[in-house]
């Protein structure tokens, strides 16, 4: 999308010309995790801005900014790895467990990690 299309799109949304703050719930959660970790002093906002900038400046970043929160999440993962809290593999494994748990959970029931059939 061109800049003009993005502007037009953001104006087409009612209520004060503001687009919804988050397009999907995971974006809101990823956003809040960063704010919470910063509140806790895990990193400075400057460190965060640099980590985010590195992701947003990747050559494959989309021109319409629709992958902004993908970059946000990648920056969060990178900063967590730098601080030796969790590596990519830990996150991959647990994400896969959540996905298996979601598949194994009957519709309408809360998804719990305990529902993962491969849980060891």
């Amino acid at each position: 999308m061109s800049l003009r299309e993005l502007i037009t799109h953001s104006r087409g949304v009612p209520a004060d010309g503001d687009t919804p703050v988050f397009a999907e719930p995971w974006q809101a959660e990823a956003f809040a995790i960063v704010v919470a970790l910063h509140d806790r002093g895990l990193f400075s906002w400057n460190e965060w801005a640099n980590a985010l900038s590195t992701q947003l400046k990747r050559p494959d970043a989309l021109a319409d900014g629709s992958d902004y929160y993908h970059g946000w999440l990648a920056a969060l993962e990178s900063i967590i790895a730098t601080k030796n809290i969790a590596g990519k593999e830990d996150i991959d494994d647990l994400a896969a467990a959540w996905q298996r748990a979601a598949h194994a959970t009957p519709h309408g029931k809360p998804i719990l990690l305990e529902n993962d059939p491969d849980r060891s």
């Binding site: 502007i7 703050v21 919470a36 806790r40 947003l56 967590i80 969790a86």
Partner: protein, 190 residues
Amino acid sequence: MAARVRALETILTQKGLIDPLAIDAIVETYETKVGPRNGASVVAKAWVDSEYADWLKRDATAAIAYLSYTGRQGEHMQAVFNTPDTHNLVVCTLCSCYPWSVLGLPPVWYKSPPYRSRAVIDPRGVLAEFGLTLPATTNIRVWDSTAELRYLVVPLRPAGTEGFTEDQLAALVTRDSMIGTGLPLATEAV
């Protein structure tokens, strides 16, 4: 993506670094409580109260905190005042630094690569995309935000608003007019 965020949340909660209830509270705050109405009340107050306007010029961080809008990232605020000769425009070329405490979270276009790359090189062309054409004699100053310093544009008070209350004035102040990509609403639009 949802599963990855869930995984991160699980790890960080287990390590005692975040509290899921606090995460919900942050989302709630940014979805409903913080938005451009905060900034609009700052601008309206500066329009009616010249002492407040002076304070905002000198020390925007303190003047804005006085209205109970404080930044979470410990960032400093600077208010940049439009004049008949100079129009101010705010961007963050690095990523998406934005005065959250007074404007909420940034709109989609603010975070987009074309805005971030073009606002500095061709501000006049960018403003034209927003439908804003300024006289050729008007200077455009572009302010590049950082993690430590964020900007709030104080637009010119629209003509014909003598005797307006602060609330009536605040209703004229749009989000875009505080980023510099727009002007306040004209009085007949209200």
